[in-house]
Point group: C2
Chain length 214, copies 2
DNA sequence: TAAAAATTCATCCTTAAGGGTGAATAGAAC
DNA sequence: GTTCTATTCACCCTTAAGGATGAATTTTTA
């Protein structure tokens, strides 16, 4: 089988993270899942250099860094000089930091501690949102939160699909965003419906809203 | 035209309200809109008598009454002795009262000051919710809130339709709940889509969520 | 390594949804 | 008294969505 999937979605990611263990962890996850890590930056200077020299397609930014500029500053720099999606990697922060982070309009957030699935799903959804409309943020569901309330948890692909549906996309739009066929999307939707006890996209959205409230 | 609509939806409403001006106001609204006011009770005793003698199909209850039992007490009595939908008519109340009101699981709330449209729409949605599933409450959109953010406001029927869509109903289910044909529902949906800048029910729901946040 | 789960895709079929046009009726507004 | 809006409905057509079945491939897990 020609791995069309892999070639089309091998997207170069820059990781900006001062803790080597976390950085390597993320790097391993991504390399095993159709992403290519173009570089790891441990401080602001390395981040600026990587951005210029290795032209990543997306950036994962830890907010707290051991350097003069933190992740939010680097994000502001990206907004000024590039047209790139970026996600913040963050622990629970104070309100001020969250406010500052929102101002630079990130394509997504990854909250520590995170698991592989959440990381990959957040990244894929962020890329899709960025591609469609850089300005407005589509609200993102939390897979962990949803799965906690389901007898049978959603798989990563099912989760991404229902997220798109939650944000009003048609099956064809979801297929385009995920680089797979319409048939595949329909299979994911059908399986997700079983788990969500729904039989239409609007019913699924109602169920998702209920699950998010709990 | 045989007014099938009127005969099927001429529902008897009991109004429990100690302020005669408001009571007559509501009474007038309802009588002009395919509802029949079976009686007006100005205190608890009259309410109990009306419930027994005139067998209303639904009850609108002011919470604050000049009598030993208030609206919530009467609601509890209804729950115990009848199977009837009731709505609370309320001004801004203290938390305790709201907590008590929630315990008797009303089919809806009408908050003063209210206009004719909100009253009728709340009533119709409450009746529909009650008919479908007496136990769980479908979350209800606020027409005033939505309309405040639309260039062209939704009409009452359009609002009721999008409310049903928001709660996951199919067009056929909406038609059944509103006692009109599928064609009519489609017309309302199409017109609502224009106002909401949507072209599918899921997109409409996304827009409604956005409008409710503002 | 074998079994189970996840992901991908195809084909076929039925129904739901969306969209266009036209039109009758009733009520409100002017 | 005429115009405007809201509500209702019909007929038409196209596309989207939902559902069933079968199957190949990869990844994970036992």
């Amino acid at each position: 089988m020609p791995d069309l999937m892999k070639s089309t979605s091998e997207i170069k990611i820059l990781i900006v993270e001062d803790e080597p263990i976390i950085a390597r962890n993320i790097s391993m996850y991504l390399d095993n899942n159709d992403f290519k890590v173009s570089g790891i930056a441990y401080d602001d200077e390395e981040a600026f250099a990587e951005l210029k020299n290795n032209t990543p397609d997306a950036v994962i930014l830890d907010i707290n860094l051991n350097s003069p500029s933190d992740g939010i500053d680097i994000a502001a720099f990206i907004n000024k000089n590039f047209h790139l999606p970026f996600l913040f990697l963050t622990s629970y922060s104070d309100r001020e930091t969250i406010q500052r982070a929102k101002l630079v309009e990130p394509s997504g957030y990854i909250v520590k501690p995170f698991n592989e699935r959440t990381l990959l799903a957040s990244l894929e959804i962020a890329l899709s949102n960025f591609a469609q409309r850089s300005n407005q943020q589509a609200p993102e569901l939390k897979m962990d939160k949803i799965n906690r309330h389901l007898l049978s948890p959603l798989t990563e692909r099912e989760y991404i699909v229902v997220n798109h549906i939650y944000n009003g996309k048609t099956n064809n739009q979801v297929a385009a965003a995920m680089f797979v066929s319409l048939n595949t999307i329909k299979v994911h939707i059908k399986n997700a419906y079983l788990k969500l006890d729904a039989s239409s996209r609007t019913m699924a959205v109602v169920r998702l809203r209920e699950l998010m409230k709990k």
